[in-house]
């Protein structure tokens, strides 16, 4: 009776021999429109959410961008790129940092050709980080100081300029016309309008003077201002002086330095030497008109870097006090590169005054870095393509040895061997002077490289059947994880030396490396243990049944799978380690974040712009962290594990 209720085709049905052809999906369900509909406007709630979020997001973006373009004063970054990147690493030894960068770049480029996709991605990250490191303007390595030139106008005086000079050098002061208007650049024209009253509180770059010349605000032929040019010693005694008059505007003065010391150059407009008969419209005597261009040669100017200040104080004695003529809030510090343009800016001015100086100052070194990478890449590629199997084997071996030696080589290059070494005299650079991004990357790289194997050992130790090793591992892991990193760094600073006996002089950077490595290793151990736990026991059994011993089992079977499974967690641990390196500033090492404090403390004029400096540092942190996590995503997708299914 049941069968009566079945429909026609229900009980007996045979499909036609051929399946029907596949059709396209209905319109509006695929493509961009389909995606938008399905993901952004699928329901009333979703629509409201989309609207609200996009309004908030645009507001946020608008505010940030207008601030960055119109208000922010990025010169704190532009003028301090070297400090941000390598801190107070001595100028004369900067080539060593660059050599390290080149070494990293070449190994990475080789590695990208030679190794599998996993390693390849990792090496690309490294290369990108290093490119950020070499953002040091290459010009910074030039030790020869450019002549200092500045301009004195008829209605303002220049503040006295303080500088140091060494025994045997010749200081040359001159008042002379600018004869290289067209070839002068911001780089070779260090000089500036000094404290133009009421007009602008800052010094102006050559490009700005050039603009004024072009607009007729400064007439070059008017370089006929009578000026008394004096060279004073640190106590203010006149050592030499020379007078420039409208009749003989071009004068110069040379002074042979007898002793390392501070000197002061002083340019004063001398009214009594000019004809004051001319009167203005209401009958008052006119001030002398025109300009004087003053040039100082062969000296290194007092820059406001605190490190330099310390060094200068040691070598040349206390900095002489001078009276400043202007209400210049930059004080009497000269030769600072200008703070181009204060106040609201249009996007065009932003590009011209803020972005392009930054790019032009870092472009050359980035381009060199990219060229080195591409050349090393190309050569390896060619050798691999046209060489036989053994060539590739050799290349791989060289690359491997290069990576194995990278930490000692980097360390020796950065620290130096001490000047006495007869073969290779590398002046030793104390690690307190490794600062900025250099220190951040160094701490991250070494503690990542050291903490991964250590973490694996502790993870295996914690799982091992031997109670002594197991207990030790658990104790280590839980102790370290139970304390904040900052505590561990204090411990590393104050306690670790005791373990090394007379190691009281153990380098601070090494102490921090020990602290960071142990800290990261404890977390790494737990991450790896998580990975080990998800490997089915059958893998172990299969391996043992084949006769592989426990070490081989771990090395060939368990660890490769466990580590791949924890790539995301491992990478996020490394990203977090990278950011945690900023904590070393608490014991007085100035890494990327700490150096900002150093910059604004040493150069008061940047104090109002500390925000910009922190934003820039934030961007650098973000770029590196983002690259790291992008690589982690790639690692998950590529390689043998991608085909894995169970």
């Amino acid at each position: 009776m049941m069968s009566n209720s079945y429909g026609r085709d229900e009980l007996f049905y045979v499909a036609p021999p051929e399946p029907p052809p596949s059709r396209r999906p209905p319109p509006g369900t695929v493509g961009v429109a389909g995606w938008v509909r399905a993901n952004l406007f699928s329901s009333t709630f979703n629509t409201i959410l989309t609207m609200v979020t996009s309004v908030l997001l645009s507001l946020f973006l608008w505010e940030s961008i207008t601030w960055a373009v119109a208000d922010a004063q990025w010169s704190v970054v532009i003028n301090n790129i070297q400090l941000l990147n390598v801190g107070q690493y001595p100028n004369a030894e900067l080539w060593r940092v660059e050599l390290v960068a080149v070494y990293f770049l070449m190994l990475s480029a080789m590695g990208v050709v030679l190794w599998g996709s996993m390693t390849r991605a990792a090496m690309l990250t490294l290369a990108i980080s290093v490119v950020l490191l070499v953002l040091i303007p290459i010009a910074a390595t030039a030790v020869e100081p450019a002549p200092i030139r500045f301009i004195v106008g008829h209605d303002f005086n220049a503040s006295p300029m303080r500088f140091v000079a060494n025994e045997g050098e010749t200081i040359s002061l001159a008042v002379e016309p600018i004869n290289d208007v067209d070839t002068a650049t911001d780089e070779n024209f260090t000089g500036l309008i000094e404290g133009a009253q009421g007009e602008q509180n800052s010094r102006i770059k050559w490009s700005e003077i050039r603009r004024q010349i072009d607009q007729g605000e400064i007439v070059l032929s008017d370089y006929n201002l009578p000026v008394l040019l004096q060279l004073l010693d640190a106590e203010g005694n006149v050592l030499a002086e020379v007078l420039s008059t409208p009749e003989h505007p071009v004068v110069n003065l040379d002074y042979q330095v007898e002793e390392d010391s501070w000197f002061i150059a002083n340019a004063t407009v001398v009214a009594e030497n000019v004809n004051l008969q001319e009167t203005d419209a209401i009958g008052l005597p006119m001030a002398p008109s025109g300009h004087a261009f003053i040039r100082i040669d062969n000296v290194s100017i007092y820059r406001t870097k605190p490190s330099d200040l310390e060094r200068l104080r040691e070598t040349y004695g206390e900095i002489p006090q001078v009276d400043c003529y202007t209400n210049d809030r930059l004080g009497c510090q000269t030769a600072e590169r200008s703070l181009p343009y204060l106040g609201k800016r249009s996007p065009g001015k932003y590009l011209r005054l803020q972005l392009s100086p930054y790019i032009s100052s870092v472009a050359s070194s980035v381009i060199v870095a990219i060229i080195i990478f591409v050349v090393a890449f190309g050569i390896t590629m060619l050798l691999k393509r046209f060489g036989d199997k053994s060539t590739e084997k050799w290349l791989t071996r060289i690359n491997l040895i290069g990576w194995l030696l990278i930490i000692p080589i980097t360390w020796v290059l950065l620290a130096g061997l001490g000047g006495e070494n007869p073969i290779l005299s590398l002046v030793s650079v104390p690690s307190e002077r490794w600062q900025g991004l250099l220190l951040t990357l160094l701490l991250t790289f070494i503690s990542v490289v050291a903490s991964l194997p250590l973490g694996i050992l502790f993870a295996l130790g914690r799982r091992s059947g031997l109670p002594v090793i197991g207990t030790f591992s658990v104790l280590f892991i839980e102790l370290i994880r139970g304390a904040p990193l900052i505590t561990i760094l204090f411990f590393a600073k104050n306690i670790v030396p005791f373990f090394f006996g007379s190691g009281a002089d153990l380098d601070d950077v090494i102490r921090m490396l020990i602290g960071l490595t142990l800290f990261s290793a404890a977390y790494q151990a737990e991450i790896v243990r998580g990975g080990l736990q998800i490997i089915p026991h059958g893998q172990n059994e299969a391996s043992m049944a084949l006769g592989l011993n426990p070490y081989q089992t771990n090395y060939f079977i368990i660890l490769p799978q466990a580590l791949r499974a924890v790539i995301p967690a491992t990478m996020s641990q490394f990203v977090s380690l990278f950011k945690d390196t900023s904590l070393v500033s608490i014991i007085g090492l100035f890494e990327l974040l700490g150096i900002v404090e150093l910059i604004v403390n040493g150069q008061q004029q940047y104090r109002p712009f500390v925000r910009e400096a922190y934003v820039y540092v934030g961007i650098i942190y973000f770029v590196i962290a983002f690259v790291m996590s992008a690589v982690s995503r790639r690692l998950e997708e590529t390689g043998s594990g991608a085909a894995r299914r169970r």
Binding site: M544, G547, F556, I557, R644
Partner: protein, 247 residues
């Protein structure tokens, strides 16, 4: 071999406990060289534990196990020697998912047998031919069907040139369509004279290939017999009950 009177596996009064639970109770059995022995029984009867004791994946607490004249003790050298004599195939295949099929088969050859790379790859290809899937050598286990994976697992065990093959329910995790291809390989192996100890629920296989059938229940051996006798004329009540339920 000579000192064990032609028996390649000898178990005498083997007892094993998992904690308080008595899994194997006075198990004694002998396997001759080139013999195929099938172990059957309900789940939880201890049959898997029994063969896992033979290559020390499980440790027995009492009694003695002698494989190819080597007594299984806590001595690591003995354990390794026995593992070199025995190959094992698992219910879940347990292939190494991060290695290709070829690497799965060559790994132990290279690092346990210390065979050069080329030689072990030749051996691996030879075995893949034998199990019928030479074209899959470069793939990863995850890209193969269950039946193919199990055949790779057999090839992997054979690559070590064992004297004994232990099979722990090799077809239980397979789709019905794939069981046959694995059983065919096992039959071929049996014909070639390999000593095999097989835990399985495939009664057809037992009937066709086995020299002897061992029936286990609650951790003890209940009945041993040739397939003809065992299936046609089981003696023990428990055996009769078991067979009536599955046949």
């Amino acid at each position: 071999m000579d000192n064990s009177n032609g028996y390649i596996i000898e178990l005498v009064d083997v007892n094993k406990w998992f904690g308080e639970f008595h899994v194997l109770k006075d198990v004694s059995m002998k396997v001759r060289e080139r013999e195929v022995v099938v172990v059957i029984g309900p789940s939880g009867s201890g049959k898997s534990t029994l063969i896992r004791c033979i290559n020390r994946l499980e440790e027995h607490q009492e009694g003695s196990i002698i494989v190819d004249g080597i007594e299984l003790t806590n001595d690591v050298r003995n354990i390794n020697a026995i593992r070199r004599e025995t190959g094992m195939v698992f219910q879940q295949f347990n292939l190494f998912p991060h290695l290709t099929v070829l690497e799965n088969i060559t790994l132990a050859q290279r690092y346990v047998r210390r065979r050069p790379r080329r030689e072990s790859e030749e051996k691996a290809m030879q075995l893949l031919e034998r199990v019928g899937i030479p074209e899959q050598a470069r793939k990863y286990p995850g890209q193969l069907s269950g039946g193919q994976q199990q055949r790779v697992a057999i090839a992997r065990a054979l690559a070590m040139e064992p004297k004994i093959m232990l099979f722990d329910e090799p077809t239980s995790a397979l789709d019905p369509e794939m069981i046959k291809e694995v059983l065919d390989v096992m039959k071929e192996l049996a014909r070639s004279g390999m000593t095999m100890l097989v835990v399985t629920h495939e009664m057809g296989f037992a009937r066709e290939v086995a020299d002897r059938v061992i029936f286990m229940d609650s951790g003890r051996i209940v009945e041993i017999g040739t397939p003809e006798h065992f299936f046609r004329d089981p003696q023990h009540d428990r055996t009769q009950l078991f067979l009536s339920q599955i046949l």
